[in-house]
Every structure is written in C-alpha cells, then in structure tokens.
C-alpha cells in the first residue's frame, strides 16, 4: 500500500475549506500551517486569471527530511506516509532545511518540527483526511496509488500526460500529484512574491520559527518545570469562554 494525494487544480476554487479543516483537525498553531492554498495571479488587466494551489507535505518516497533527521523522529509508515514523532524530535530544524517544498514548520507550542501526516490518525480509524472531507468540489483525491482500482489510480490513468509533481528534478519521488498545474503554479521561482503584500495588503508576519516567548533558557526549563506560556496556547474554540453566549443566556435569549 502506498497512499498518495492528487489535487485537480481545474476544480479547486480557492475556498480554503481544506486549509481550515486541517487547522482545526490537527490544532495547528497560529502562524503555522500544514496545508495552505496559495493564490497566484497571471496576466495583465483585463486578461487576468487567478489560480489556486493547495500545498502540503508531498510524502516523498525518497524523503530528504527523513534522511537528515538525526533521531528518526521523521519516519516512514508501512502505508507510505512520512510520519513524525514529536516526542523524539530534538528541534534541530534539519528537516526544515532539507524539505524542498517548505512543508515543515517548528511548532511554537511544542517546539518540535511538525507537518502534514495525511491525517494518519484518521486513516488508522478508516477515515479520510480532514481536507478531503471538507473539499466542496472533490478536488482532493486520496487513496492507494498501488491499487489500480482505487479512485486516485483511476484518476491518474484518466489524466495521463497532465499529471505533475512539484520539483521532480530533486528526485524525491513525491506521492502528491497535481492535475492542471503548470510552471506558474508549481514552480516557486516562476512567480513574483512581494513579501508582506497580498490581497489583504500588508500582512503581518508572525514568527514561525518556534515561539518568540520561548527563550533559550525556557528550552531547558520547560521540560522540567512545565511551560509558563500556557496562556499563549492555541486553545480549541470549544474550550474558549463565549462571552456573547453568556450575555444571551443572562437575558434569557437564544
């Protein structure tokens, strides 16, 4: 069994439903992402178009992150998923330097590397990854690429000649495919990127390399005395006090 992903970019409409589903399912902290949808504009007015490219870990068969990890925190599962053991990770960031797709981040809460695991915990229970479930147009197709009867295998066969992977020249053998992609959407060198500016103009940049409130001294003390920055943790919405709800109840409203 070799699990793989395919995204049909012709279907993706950039709703970011997958991105949000991933954030919620995996409690991905602020300023970090496991899956993101990138918007790229092509052409000049009035002949312009906008493309949407979901980006996540490619679960490479020859993964540079697995090779460089000094403690095997990054490891292959039998189903081909490149999984991460955050209890073993030492936070050296070697995997972040090795991943050609920029898919790994340093979790600011646990101070360990983290990334998309194709929702390995859901797959273990026979469920689909959260992003697949959330996609309203079924642009995300997930399954066993070694099973020729699986939906992903059939999709690949139906679209022969239009299947691409990111950075094939790196010989990482990604198990994440795109249909309808092109150089502009899949090659980061092919498009201009003006840091800090986008659709919502002047985006605030958050520190993605560990928590800014987690000093070097904390790195030694936290494992012994616990994290004193608990108030900064990304609590789930269910746990957060809902002041609006309280006011409504006090007034007898619904």
């Amino acid at each position: 069994m070799k699990l793989g992903f395919l995204v049909d970019l012709n279907l993706c409409m950039g709703c970011k439903g997958c991105e949000i589903a991933c954030k919620v399912e995996n409690e991905v902290p602020l300023s970090s992402w496991r899956l993101r949808v990138k918007y790229i504009d092509i052409g000049s007015f009035p002949d312009t178009s906008r493309s949407f490219t979901p980006l996540r870990c490619n679960h490479c068969e020859n993964a540079p992150c697995e090779r460089i990890c000094p403690v095997s925190a990054l490891h292959y599962l039998d189903n081909g998923i490149v999984n991460i053991d955050s209890e073993r990770c030492i936070g050296c960031a070697g995997c972040m330097m090795a991943c050609p797709y920029g898919a790994i981040y340093m979790d600011p809460e646990s101070n360990t590397a983290d990334k998309c695991t194709y929702c390995a915990h859901r797959i273990e229970s026979g469920l689909m990854p959260a992003c697949v479930v959330a996609c309203p147009v079924e642009a995300n197709i997930f399954g066993d690429v070694e099973d020729e009867t699986s939906q992903i295998s059939r999709y690949i066969m139906e679209h022969q000649g239009d299947i691409q992977v990111r950075k094939p020249e790196k010989h990482t053998d990604p198990k994440h495919y795109y249909v309808g992609g092109g150089n502009n959407t899949l090659n980061p060198q092919a498009h201009e990127r003006i840091e800090g500016y986008g659709l919502f103009n002047n985006i605030t940049k958050l520190d993605q390399i560990g928590s800014p409130n987690h000093s070097i001294l904390d790195r030694f003390l936290d494992p012994i005395f616990g994290n004193h920055n608990d108030h900064l943790k990304n609590e789930s919405f269910a746990d957060m006090p809902n002041e609006a709800g309280v006011h409504h109840e006090e007034k007898g409203e619904h």
Partner: protein
Amino acid sequence: MDHVSTIEATKAIVTLDVAHSGIIWGWMITLNMWAKSIGTGVILVGAFLLYRHKHEEMPNLRWLMPLISFIALNVFLFFTLIDLHQPLRMIHIFTHPHWTSSITVGAWMATLFLVLVSIMMFTSFFTRFSDFRKDCAIAKAVRAKDGLYEKIFPFTVFLAFPVTMYTAIIMSQSAARELWVPGAELIQMLLAAFMVGSAALILIAEEWSESVKKELAMILALSVLFSFIMYMGEYFFSFKAAEVEATLAYVHSGGEYFTQFWAAMVLGYIIPFFIAMRMSDNRTMMKFAAVTAFIGLYLAKSTWLEIPQMIPLS
C-alpha cells in the same frame, strides 16, 4: 521591496500566501561552524608544524594547541546544543541514532574528537605546569599518563578532517538549498579550518622560530587565497542553476548581504592575504591579519548560510 514597482505583464504574482518563514539556521549555527573550524584547524595546522619542525621551535604548542581546540570545541557544542528547540533531547542522538543523517554521524565524531582533545589538553597541561596541584592524586594520575598524548595525537589529527568537513554534508543533505554544493563546501570547510587554525596559532607564536612563523603566514595566505577564489567563482559564475542564481541575487542586488559579503571578503581574505605575503615579519600586522581573518570568516559563513534560506520554496 517597493510594492508599487511595476511587475512584468508576463510574470505571475503571488497575491495570497503565508509569510516566508525567514531564517531557520541563524547566527548560532554560524558561530557553531566558525568555532568548529578553529577547534579542528589548530589541530590540523599544529600537526603540520610538528611534522615539519622540531618541538623546541614551538615551545608552547604542545599544551596550547589542545587547549585552544578544547575551548573552541566547547563553544561549538554549546551553540549546537542551545540552537536545538529541545536541547535536553540531544541525548536522543546517542540513544536513537539515525545513521543516514550527517547530523548524527557528525555529533558522534565531534564527541569522540572532543574526548581525544580533552585527554591531550589535560595531560599536556599538568605536565607543562608540574607544580600545579602537585600533591593532588588526580593530577598525579594524569601526569603519569602523559605518554597518551603522543599515542592519541595521530588519531586526533585523522579525526579532525571528517569533523571539520561533516557540516558540508549536512548542507548537501539540505536538499532544499541548492547553493550548497557538497564538493565546494567540503573544500571550503577544510580551507576555513586551515585559515583560522593558522590565525589562532599566529596569536600564540610570539616565541616561535622565524621559519615556523613564516610557514604559518604561508598557510594563512594560501588558505585565504584558495577560499577567496572559490567564493569568487561561485559569486560571479553560477549561471547553470536557476535556484542558485536566485539565491545569489540576495547578495548581487545590494543591501545587507552585499555589504556583509564584501566586508567578509576584504577582512577575511584580501587583507590577511596581502599582510601574510608582504609583511610576515611584522608581528603586529600578522596578529592584525589573524584577527581580521576570524571576523571575515564569521561574516562569510553567515552570508553563505543565510541567503539560501531567503528564497521561497513553495
């Protein structure tokens, strides 16, 4: 970059994305590589001098060489440790080693190297200062083992080569950063060790013979020359790989990295080369050249470490 600047009509632009993750390996890793070059360099250059000259020509080399190496290696290991986001888990490298990782292999080699250098440092120190802790049982036991120094020295020298060069393999395993080509980085690491190894020994060579001093100046001059040529080759003639060109644009286009790179070249390479070639008899100038070589190497390593991290990967 000015956001109102004109963008070519044919060029696609990113209109919505997460912010670039910035520098992942920063000044601590630069300091790590810089200190490791000193720690291994003094052993390599010291071994070369001991092979070529009599011990009497360099009276303090026997105990100062391992002492300098010991201090530099501890700086290197300290910054390696504190750069980890989970430093207390460093032990996992020894309890759960993953041998395909050059970080693991390097950590094991560097640890063994430090053990050997420590033995050399303690035996030579207690022998050199024979009145220090004269009656202490531990000091006596260490002095009695002085012969170990000469026995382990060849192994230490042999190990100094892979220890100084393994960072180049880490850089080549960093598949995302195309600027770091293993062949070039291996040689640059080795030249950096000879460069700051000779610079460190120049600072303690006051009472050494003139022929040794001249040889030290020659080692410094040649190592900075070869290293400089390699940097110039990469800086001006990296046409083949688009990603390398995009990386070097962060230096070529001016700004902070441009200033830092050229300051590194002038301080670390051009000044030491000319002083070592033309003024090797002038002790003050040679010490000045040694200090600028230290500064220049740090700046060069910092530039070369950080610019590949500036390009967006996805």
